[in-house]
């Protein structure tokens, strides 16, 4: 049997291997190509070897230790590696170092994911932990009010010995845990007080994009746990009222909305970013300008807010739509995990993580495409930034934790019903364990 036919045979009936091999091939060829840009770039060759290897380890090797959901892992790792690739390609144009930094954050994100998986898998009684988490989260949230620095109108960053942190990104995980715990126990006031305090602090910091994500996640989780349409509708009205208040209260919000309505009105100053974003997407066309080509670094804050525009410019709009499809599949998978959870706490936790990721994606990509006003929210997994990466991988960790518990329960059910452990035929079981 020839080597190629052996390879195709090993892929047959193995969706995980098929997908991961395609992802590895994509990143190998992309980094390999970038290594030839300008002078021979050894960093590019190294990344061409290391990134596919990391993807293989994170998606095929890690699940040997617990029954993780490989599809979710594959998609999250694909998006993280895409962020590293795009940032590295812009580094070659502008001479920055975002790509390598992002690769390090990617590693930190995998650690955060592992931590969250273990947290969900092995903690049985959450009562004490929830108190501690809630108090710590509120303290962390309030830190920027005392020691924060203002970035683009919002005072939501703190700098500790040269490292910038955005506490509201980390508190997202705490918010989900607190909301899910109290909502699963049908307690009303504790989660309401916690969520109101968090959002109040965010309003003081003028971080309205994150406040919007917090608010909508809380509201949708409330609806999921109670099915109370009246109160949810009332909450939506309250949210709309707050948005109007925010418009009149904060000058930078007013400015952003004016720019959103007509960016060409002041295209050299306030509208410069959105105009450059739209021009980058348009100049990329259907198939893009080519990896490492074009002028994406002209866009202000291209590495965080406008990373989707950079993807569209280099790879084309069709590629951008397919990236959105990957987000769509990730969200559907998250909803699938939430629906199959056996405990309401786990169900709400998984649903909350899914809603949060979905909302964040919608808010930033909607802003880039000028569907809604642009906010300073990061694109999950792809945008440059350590706290964002840790928080998003933490959310994936929570989802994975619930998925592993679901899989354990399903395996147990199957064993007691059929008196045999036929794990291979179970859905999203690890085919190679």
């Amino acid at each position: 049997m020839s080597r190629s036919s052996r390879f195709t045979k090993s892929l047959r009936g193995r969706p995980d291997r098929k997908l991961v091999s395609a992802i590895m091939l994509f990143f190998f060829s992309a980094f390999f190509l970038l290594a030839f840009k300008g002078e021979l770039n050894w960093q590019g060759f190294m990344l061409a070897a290391v990134v596919p290897l990391l993807i293989y380890i994170a998606t095929m090797w890690l699940p040997r230790f617990f029954p993780a959901d490989k599809l979710l892992l594959s998609i999250a790792n694909f998006l993280c590696a895409l962020g590293v690739l795009v940032l590295y390609s812009t580094d070659l144009i502008k001479g920055t170092n975002y790509g390598m930094q992002q690769a390090v954050y990617y590693g930190a994100g995998i650690l955060a994911m592992l931590f969250c998986i273990l947290l969900v898998r092995y903690i049985r009684y959450w009562r004490v932990f929830i108190y501690i988490i809630a108090v710590c989260a509120l303290g962390l949230m309030a830190l920027p009010l005392a020691f924060g620095t203002e970035v683009y109108g919002a005072t939501n960053w703190i700098v500790i010995s040269g490292i910038s942190l955005q506490p509201s990104e980390i508190v997202k995980l705490a918010l989900l845990l607190v909301l899910s715990y109290y909502m699963s126990r049908r307690r009303f006031w504790p989660w309401l007080i916690f969520a109101v305090l968090c959002m109040g602090v965010l309003m003081f910091q003028a971080d309205l994009g994150t406040a919007l994500i917090y608010y909508m996640t809380t509201l949708l989780l409330y609806y999921a746990s109670t099915g109370n349409l009246w109160m949810t509708g009332l909450g939506l009205l309250g949210g709309a009222g707050s948005a109007v208040y925010g418009y009149f209260k904060f000058a930078h919000v007013k400015r952003r909305i004016a720019v959103w309505r007509n960016p060409w009105m002041d295209f050299e100053n306030t509208g410069y970013q959105i105009v450059q974003i739209l021009m980058a997407i348009a100049s990329g066309g259907l198939f893009g300008m080519g990896l490492g080509l074009g002028y994406p670094t002209i866009i202000p804050v291209y590495q965080t807010d406008a990373i989707f525009a950079v993807i569209c410019e280099q790879f084309g709009i069709i590629f951008g739509v397919l990236v959105l499809c990957m987000y769509g599949i990730l969200i559907l998978r998250g909803a699938f995990i939430a629906r199959n959870a056996r405990r309401s706490f786990h169900g709400l936790l998984a649903l909350g993580a899914t809603i949060m990721l979905g909302l964040q994606t919608f808010v930033i990509i909607g802003g880039v495409l000028k569907l809604i006003p642009l906010t300073g929210v990061t694109m999950p997994f792809v945008s440059a930034g350590g706290t964002s990466m840790v928080s998003c991988m933490g959310l994936i960790g929570l989802l994975q934790g619930v998925a592993t518990v679901n899989q354990d329960d399903l395996t147990y059910d199957y064993e007691v019903s059929h008196n045999r452990a036929d794990e291979e035929s179970l859905p999203f079981a690890n085919p190679d364990t």
């Binding site: 060829s29 190509l33 099915g227 198939f287 599949i329 405990r343 309401s344 329960d409 147990y412």
Partner: protein
């Protein structure tokens, strides 16, 4: 590499990257769709998936009839509202009455919510921070409903006391041909429930821990709980007679809260219904 050559290769590589991206997106979608179908098929083979057992009402009232089976998930809230995981519409059941959680080693943990009262295996639990573990065959009294927990196959030995305290000699109760049938066999299940109902009507012959029938003349207000906490015996009233139902003390407002919906006038009930609908997320069943 010269810039011109790189540009030509990068322009050609665009299509290669797009092709790979299409393959990645398509394979992800196919994997997701196939997995969902596979999961649905698997669930058809596991009709009890997600549930660890059921609470069988062995003594109900006008709102909940005897024999009603309430599936028990791994974790949730039991109460009167339809939004609860277990909706029990018997009299004296509060909107959210108790929280429960299943644990493979300890059994089913039940914990009454703030100010509520339950009786688990004859032991009275009032308010939060009081908890009890139920196992296969345990009894649970919530409001006017008395229920018996029936764990599904595979879960019946959860809880350390389960093996020693099975209330029924099931082998005697079941027909011979069903003695070796698995616990989740529907015919066996039907016979078990019927057997338990028979037991309830004939409580005098039940095991010692099971409280005897309530004497109608007993006034629940006269109740004085036994000081001896060694076993789940029947309640002993002040005049020495025995009663099955847990106490209702006049001076204990917390306990009286369990009388929600009972004894309220119509206007009060309507107010409560509106409040529940608006703020507590549930409609009346």
């Amino acid at each position: 590499m010269p810039d011109e050559l790189y540009e030509i290769i990068a322009l050609a590589a665009r299509y290669w990257f797009l092709l790979l991206m299409v393959i990645i997106a398509w394979r992800s979608y196919r994997w997701f769709a196939k997995d969902r179908k596979k999961f649905k098929r698997r669930l058809k083979l596991l009709p009890d998936a997600g549930y660890v057992g059921e609470l069988v009402v062995v003594q109900g009232d006008e709102f909940v009839s005897r024999g009603t089976c309430l599936p028990v998930s791994r974790e949730g809230v039991l109460g009167y509202l339809r939004s609860n995981d277990i909706c029990l519409t018997a009299g004296g059941v509060a909107n959210r009455h108790l929280w429960y959680s299943f644990d493979d080693t300890d059994g089913l943990l039940v914990e009454p919510l703030r100010g509520r009262m339950i009786v688990a295996d004859g032991r009275e639990l009032v308010g939060k921070k009081m908890r009890a573990y139920l196992s296969h065959g345990s009894t649970l009294v919530v409001g006017q409903a008395k229920m018996r927990l029936r764990m599904f196959s595979g879960f019946e030995y959860a809880g350390e006391v389960a093996a020693q305290r099975l209330p029924l000699d099931e082998a005697d109760m079941l027909p011979e041909e069903l003695a070796d049938a698995p616990h989740n066999d529907p015919v066996r299940r039907m016979h078990e429930i019927a057997a338990w109902q028979t037991m309830t009507e004939d409580e005098a012959e039940e095991p010692a821990f099971y409280p005897p029938e309530m004497d109608d003349d007993d006034d629940a207000d006269d109740y004085d709980p036994p000081m001896d906490d060694s076993g789940p015996d029947a309640y002993v009233t002040q005049d020495g007679s025995q009663t099955f139902y847990p106490p209702v003390l006049d001076d204990d407002e917390e306990i009286l809260k369990r009388e929600e919906y009972v004894g309220e006038d119509e206007a009060e009930t309507m107010k409560r219904v509106v409040w529940d609908k608006l703020f507590r997320g549930g409609k009346k069943p």
